[in-house]
């Protein structure tokens, strides 16, 4: 198993939307190399004929009548937000 380099750590952090300090990048490169090395033992397992188990039970779509029911009030939905206005979530500009 190849050791994980810092460039890979930075790339993954970008995908995960995590700002990491340089110190964290170094630490995670070492930790994740160790962990992925440990996990790579799975490569030696013979998985011929084994489907993937994504879930321990079989899930089926569940339907109900399309009737209005009491739900969340807007003021409750925004009550925990860092910033809101007129019951909308308020965020910094995302488009320049």
């Amino acid at each position: 198993m190849r050791a994980m380099d810092e460039a890979t750590v930075r790339h993954v952090a970008r995908l995960a939307r995590l700002e990491l300090t340089d110190d964290e990048v170094r630490r995670f490169a070492a930790d994740m190399s160790k962990i992925t090395d440990f996990v790579s033992a799975l490569r030696k397992v013979d998985v011929q004929g084994a489907e993937m188990t994504l879930h321990p039970v079989v899930n089926r779509n569940q339907w109900r009548e399309d009737e209005a029911r009491p739900g969340f009030k807007r003021e409750d939905a925004v009550a925990n937000a860092a910033d809101s206005e007129q019951n909308f979530f308020k965020v910094p500009p995302v488009i320049e």
């Binding site: 996990v39 188990t53 969340f72 937000a81």
Partner: protein, 486 residues
């Protein structure tokens, strides 16, 4: 300790229903005991005395009106990743800040309907990721049997408060062992129901194919009493099972005649900690004396459980935790642009272990690595499920050690991998969606509790609790102890 606090939850509720005690007196006694024990234990993140006493008042009124439920007036503690309307749900993370739950989790609502008093919110490893409770960003919880040691995790606060008698019962969540491991370390019963047996609506999701809510109690009887309240289908959780719920209290038994107990010999023979192995072997001998037949069994792929778990659970966590973006709730670190605020909020708000798992999960799901990591782990998971199917063809229950050791000292395990290895015995049942529990069966030389892991097929909770009850009753003279701190 107040005399009332020495009773179990089932007897306490009976007395309150029979007007031999009041919910107010019981709740006041627990609140006073919390004040006395918390400076040393630190199990609770939040206790609202006024709210608890007003719930107790309502419980007493319900008794007078002849509407008392099965947990009338019994104080129950809730892990702080499960919603209690109006109280904090911090997940022991700085990222959630002062988040207030806008609704009750289904398990909370069911407890309320049964008359229980929600006494407080308990500490955990941040977002339930950890095995010692040391990953909490808010507080350190200590083991009531020896405060230099950890309570186990992730539901460390919920295990510690029940062990310290500062709650009769508590709720935890178990993704890879987060109920059973701390139960084993704190000497209480910790029960992970089968996947789907208990609703997860209002539980903050960590790994959705594994998470399950379950109780801690000081006896198997109390575990059955609270499971009668918690179990069942919930329209708010489509993964909750639409199957009948047996009366768990009615299934409790005192013998093991005709029961086939499966033992994986190598788990005991190769266990470096001989005290844990010895206590588990003594418990197995006792099961035989109660009429059980001991059969050797094996789980050839279970050794890969930890590797499978850390890929699958981290992958699911990386997806579930994407919701913490600083927009709708929790911390927001302001920045000139929305996307940068997103990066900073998550970088600042999550602790090191949570970041490590998000990173690992994102990597395992990323282009070029998906089949190598996630796909392969999901296939080995199938092999582990098949191992259990084969094993349970020859036995009714599997027993062995719950953890490779007793509670370790705080700060002793700094390497992430060595921490992951704590869950070696509990993870396989989570991957297969089985029900399992930890039952206190002894103590090591230093007086720290040892737990026996008992596993049964999915939805065999009634049988599992019955077997555990028989063993518990037989071991009572040797095992029934109270930590000095209580």
């Amino acid at each position: 300790m107040h005399e009332l606090l020495k009773l179990d939850a089932t007897e306490t509720a009976r007395r309150i229903r029979a007007a031999e005690a009041t919910a107010h007196d019981v709740t006041a006694a627990v609140l006073a005991h919390i004040k006395a024990t918390e400076p040393k234990v630190g199990a609770y993140l939040h206790v609202d005395e006024a709210d608890a006493l007003s719930q107790a008042k309502a419980a007493d009124a319900a008794v007078k009106a002849g509407k008392a439920g099965p947990l009338a007036g019994v104080p129950v503690a809730i892990k702080d990743n499960i919603h209690v309307h109006g109280q904090q749900t911090s997940c022991a993370s700085r990222l959630l800040g002062d988040f207030k739950a806008p609704y009750d989790a289904t398990v909370t609502a069911r407890l309320r309907a049964a008359g229980a008093v929600m006494i407080g919110k308990t500490n955990l490893d941040e977002f339930a990721m950890g095995s010692s409770c040391e990953n909490s960003a808010l507080q350190q919880t200590r083991n009531p049997w020896n405060v230099a040691h950890v309570p186990g995790g992730s539901s460390g606060g919920s295990a510690a408060c029940v062990a310290a008698h500062s709650a009769y019962l508590s709720l935890g969540s178990d993704t890879g062992g987060s109920i059973r491991l701390p139960a084993s370390f704190c000497g209480v019963v910790g029960f992970k129901p089968s996947y789907g047996r208990v609703s997860r609506y209002g539980l903050v999701a960590f790994a959705s194919s594994l998470d399950q809510v379950g109780p801690f109690a000081r006896s198997v009887r109390d575990t059955a009493t609270i499971m009668n309240v918690l179990a069942g289908r919930d329209a708010h959780d489509t993964t909750s099972a639409d199957r009948p719920v047996p009366d768990y209290a009615a299934g409790l038994r005192n013998d093991l005649k005709g029961v086939r107990v499966g033992v994986v010999r190598s788990y005991l023979d190769q266990m470096p900690n001989r005290e844990v192995a010895g206590a588990c072997q003594a418990a197995i001998d006792r099961m035989q004396a109660l009429g059980a037949t001991i059969v050797e069994t094996s789980l050839p792929h279970a050794d890969h459980g930890i590797a499978v778990y850390y890929v699958v659970a981290s992958a699911e966590a990386s997806s579930n935790l994407a919701r913490f973006d600083g927009v709708r709730y929790g911390l927001r670190v302001e920045s000139s642009s929305g996307i940068e605020s997103y990066f900073r909020t998550r970088g600042t708000g999550f602790g090191p272990e949570v970041k490590r798992r998000i990173m690992l999960g994102t990597y395992a799901l990323s282009a070029g690595h998906w089949e190598e990591f996630y796909g392969r782990a999901a296939r080995v998971r199938t092999l582990i499920c098949r191992d259990f199917d084969n094993a349970f063809a020859g036995c009714d229950v599997m027993v062995g050690p719950c953890a490779p050791f007793t509670a370790f000292k705080a700060g002793e395990k700094s390497d992430p991998l060595s921490m992951y290895l704590c869950d070696i015995f509990t993870i396989p049942a989570s991957l297969a969606g089985l029900c399992a529990l930890s039952l206190p069966v002894g103590y090591d030389k230093s007086g720290l509790p040892i737990g026996l892991h008992m596993q049964a097929p999915a939805f065999a909770e009634d049988r599992l609790l019955g077997y555990a009850h028989a063993l518990e009753q037989a071991l009572k003279p040797e095992v029934d102890r109270t930590p000095a701190i209580a």
